[in-house]
């Protein structure tokens, strides 16, 4: 007798209640995995499509001749550093050697400017009254007008005296060059000042003449150096204009077909006859070309190689002459240092100019571009410039270094605090402290990041700058800080955000060390501190490392805080300051995505570039998470 086994319970389509529950939870898990897969796929597609588009963009950069113009641009940028130093040295020297004279000239300018603004209406009246007196012909009119004028002149004198009384030396002479005696001299001289003629008093004119005469040699040297770049600057402007015009034409060409079609379609559904004619005309105006005639357009650049050569040679000559004509004696060590920097930089610049000239002589507009170049110029490009009138550069390096520096600072600050707190709370603290400290630290994680960013701008930035300006701290590299939104500020706030994460995980890791280990150590005569530092922590090291890595992952992906507080300067920070580089502002990968996402249109190269940056971020986080898991598994211990 066979017994058929029947399944118990109600079934709907073969699925019982237990099965239904199982499928439901399984389905939830599946959905999460599918969504993750969809996001990854989308990210990957957009990012991967970026590179061919970037390659085409770089090809256009070359074909339109813009790459050639870029030679002139970079040469001018290098030269401008030297010119800038020369100007700085000149003005500083002038202010040192002829401080009082410059003080008189500048203070007169400021004082007269303020008085002019304050008494504008009165001055207008004065001017009108004077004109009246001149224009008056009849005798009676003349006397009347003269009386008017005298009245207004008297009013002006009273006003002027009142203003000069009010004048505050510290506000007018903001550089503090004048002593009390000179200030009084200036005020006395200004009583005679006439606002309509607006001539400086004799005192001021003499001072100006003195300073001009004294600085004459330095001035000629400086103007020679400054003029060295004028020809190249002209060439640069011309090249930019010409090549950008070619590029604009090429870009308009791309949309020509769709525009022509749009106008044609519009004319077919037009309501009035004249609309139809108008749209038809616009459609006919647009010519659709198969290929853009780059070879023809590039002919405009013919002859620019010659001009480039002459411009660079002229620059070299003027530079040499200008640097040779620089005086050798200066009034202050700062100026002497600046001038020695000029003397060091000038020959380096000359060599660079020669090399750049040779490179540009070899440049060809139709040289093919490999995809390797497209990839490497994204990952190792030093410029991220978007929305440019010339050319958009998509280089990751400035953003990557910004993100990395901020994360490293954040970790360096967060690790000692969180690890120390974890060790203390788990091993060394009493029960009352344990129940208090742990939740409080974890509460820090509840602060929204945008609130922290706000705190960083308003409170922390200002506080840091005040601290950095304390005189006995000036030995610290990077102090006094110029910017209050910089890497240090962002790093400190991110450290605050990372502490709860690292603390919780470290504490768990230390907790997981079996009691038998520490008991054995204590039994062998070790002190509590020795037990903790030599037995417990080394045992828990894998968990601690994993915690640090996860903290790093959290910090590198943080957007809001860095967007508000890191200063947003898209350039590789200046490492020549050594450790002081952390007081520089920087931009981050997360920040740039948040900042520029609002303006990009779908499927443009900028849009895809931002996704590529996102892909780099995602890859970094993924690698961090995988390595954290690996470390736990590999170096974990068994009790």
């Amino acid at each position: 007798m066979a017994t058929h086994f029947k399944r118990k319970g109600k079934r709907l389509l073969g699925v019982g209640r237990q099965d239904a529950i199982r499928y439901f939870f399984g389905g939830n898990a599946m959905v999460s995995i599918l969504v993750l897969g969809a996001i990854c796929g989308f990210l990957l597609r957009e990012a991967v499509l970026f590179f061919p588009q970037h390659q085409r963009d770089l090809e256009v950069f070359r074909l339109t001749g813009q790459e050639y113009a870029n030679f002139a641009i970079t040469e001018m940028d290098e030269y401008t550093e030297v010119k800038s130093l020369a100007n700085q040295a000149f003005y500083q020297e002038m202010n040192e050697a002829y401080g009082i004279q410059r003080g008189l000239v500048d203070s007169f300018g400021a004082l007269s400017g303020n008085i002019y603004d304050a008494g504008e209406d009165l001055i207008e009246e004065l001017e009108d009254a004077r004109d009246e007196v001149e224009d008056a012909e009849a005798e009676g009119e003349k006397t009347l007008a003269q009386a008017e004028l005298d009245a207004i002149q008297a009013k002006w004198d009273i006003f002027l005296r009142a203003e000069l009384e009010k004048a505050d030396r510290k506000t007018i002479d903001s550089f503090g060059r004048l002593g009390e005696a000179e200030w009084q001299q200036l005020l006395k001289a200004m009583v005679e000042w006439d606002p309509v003629e607006d001539e400086p008093p004799a005192l001021v004119a003499a001072a100006k003449a003195e300073s001009d005469e004294g600085m004459a040699t330095f001035d000629t040297a400086r103007t020679t150096i400054a003029a060295a770049g004028s020809e190249l600057a002209r060439l640069r402007g011309e090249l930019i204009k010409v090549t950008t015009a070619i590029k604009d034409e090429a870009v308009a060409d791309k949309s020509a077909a769709s525009r022509k079609k749009a106008y044609l379609d519009g004319s077919l559904v037009a309501e009035t006859e004249e609309e139809r004619v108008e749209l038809r005309r616009k459609s006919d105006e647009i010519t659709v070309r198969e290929e853009f005639p780059y070879a023809e357009r590039i002919k405009v650049l013919e002859g620019s190689r010659e001009k480039h050569k002459t411009a660079v040679e002229a620059m070299k000559v003027d530079l040499k002459a200008g640097v040779a004509a620089l005086p050798t004696e200066f009034s202050s060590p700062e100026v002497t240092e600046l001038v020695s920097r000029i003397r060091d930089k000038a020959p380096v610049l000359t060599v660079y100019l020669g090399e750049s000239l040779m490179e540009s002589a070899d440049w060809r507009y139709d040289e093919p571009l490999s995809w390797v170049y497209s990839v490497s110029s994204f990952f190792f490009g030093k410029d991220w410039v978007t929305n440019s009138s010339f050319h958009d550069f998509y280089g990751l390096l400035p953003l990557f270094t910004g993100s990395l520096l901020i994360s490293v600072i954040a970790l360096l600050v967060a690790i000692p605090f969180s690890l120390g707190a974890a060790i203390y709370v788990n091993r060394l603290a009493g029960p009352a402290e344990q129940t208090f400290i742990k939740p409080v630290i974890e509460l820090i994680g509840a602060i929204p990041s945008v609130v922290l960013g706000f705190f960083g701008i308003i409170v922390l930035g200002e506080a840091l700058r005040e601290v950095s300006q304390v005189p006995w701290l000036s030995w610290v590299p990077g102090f006094p800080m110029q910017e209050r939104l910089n890497i240090l500020n962002a790093g400190l706030l991110l450290a605050l955000m990372a502490v709860p994460t690292i603390f919780t995980l470290c504490e768990d890791a230390i907790n997981n060390v079996p009691a038998s280990f520490s008991e054995a150590s204590l039994a062998l005569g070790g002190s509590k501190f020795q037990t903790v530092m030599k037995v417990v922590v080394p045992t828990a090291i894998s968990g601690i490392l994993a915690a640090i890595l996860l903290g790093f992952g959290r910090v590198i992906g943080e957007t809001m805080v860095v967007l508000l507080v890191a200063g947003n300067q898209i350039a590789i920070p200046d490492f020549s300051l050594g450790a002081g580089v952390i007081t520089q502002p920087a931009h981050t990968m997360t920040g740039i995505i948040a900042q520029e996402m609002g303006e990009v249109t779908k499927d443009t190269i900028h849009y895809r570039a931002l996704f590529s940056v996102g892909l780099v971020l995602f890859t970094i986080s993924l690698l961090i998470n995988i390595s954290a898991r690996r470390i736990i598994r590999r170096f974990g211990f068994s009790a």
Binding site: N87, G113, D248, A252, R259, S389, E483
Partner: protein, 270 residues
């Protein structure tokens, strides 16, 4: 029980009527969208018009991308539409219509403690392109110049580039801030700072607007100040319905002109 039900019903109906109202979505320039347009919409509602407003000020470029995508009714921009942006609309068979909203002057501001009061356009170009890096080069005390600019979504960013920098690119050492108020804040707190803001933001404590070649940034210098610019509203096709009513009111009525002048911009003179 009955009172609770009727109260609940009443709230739902009131809420529903709010949603049933027409809504105008403004997207674009921070210069227009931070103070001027919100105040205009308030005055418009106070004048008895029942329209809801949604204003998102992310930068002038956002106006065009949102109008193209259909997520905005009216775009606010502190710059002209670029040719490429106009082409994008034509390629979709749509027309981008430009309406003048008012005039503005871009004031170049420095810290009150800075001794430099007057700059030429060439010097401003040098500072913002990174050619000039130290205050001593333009007549001030030695100190590295901290340059604060808007970011690439901003129309002011682009307008300034065209008007004061001879279309050259910004230097890499410039700090990109999100809005006028942030620039004003940073410059007011940094003695070596320089930045540019719309006229409405130049009166902050601690700021001084430099004279550009002798011209101060004051409304009476509208025609001679080198950095004056026009502010625009953009719509897709000629404005219709509620949008047309609002735009007509905002550009022609006296009440609107008063609001614009109070905020610090220059209204269209009729």
């Amino acid at each position: 029980m009955k009172t609770t039900v009727s109260i609940a019903l009443g709230t739902v109906l009131a809420a529903a009527s709010c949603f049933a109202q027409d809504k105008l979505v403004f997207k674009g320039s921070d210069t227009l969208g931070a103070k001027m347009v919100p105040q205009l919409t308030e005055a418009y509602t106070a004048a008895g018009n029942k329209v809801g407003f949604e204003i998102a000020a992310e930068g002038s470029s956002a106006a065009f991308s949102n109008l193209l995508a259909g997520t905005a009714d009216i775009g606010m921009s502190s710059r002209d539409a670029k040719d490429k942006e106009k082409d994008d609309f034509t390629a979709k068979g749509q027309e981008l219509v430009e309406i003048v909203a008012g005039y503005d002057m871009i004031a170049v501001v420095t810290n009150k403690k800075n001794g430099v009061r007057d700059l030429t356009v060439k010097q401003i170009e040098g500072i913002f392109t990174g050619d000039i890096t130290d205050w001593s080069e333009v007549g001030g005390a030695a100190g590295a110049i901290s340059v604060y600019t808007r970011n690439t979504t901003s129309g002011t960013y682009k307008s300034f580039q065209g008007m004061a920098m001879d279309k050259r690119d910004y230097g890499t050492n410039t700090n990109k801030m999100a809005g006028n108020e942030q620039i004003a804040d940073e410059v007011a707190n940094n003695p070596n700072g320089i930045g540019y803001v719309g006229l409405a933001y130049a009166d902050k404590d601690g700021l001084r607007s430099v004279k550009i070649e002798g011209e101060a940034a004051k409304p009476r210098n509208k025609d001679t100040y080198p950095l004056s610019r026009t502010l625009f509203y953009y719509t897709v096709g000629q404005p219709k319905g509620e949008a047309k009513k609002f735009l007509d009111w905002a550009t022609t009525s006296d009440a609107a002109a008063k609001v614009v002048d109070t905020v610090g911009f220059i209204a269209i003179k009729k």
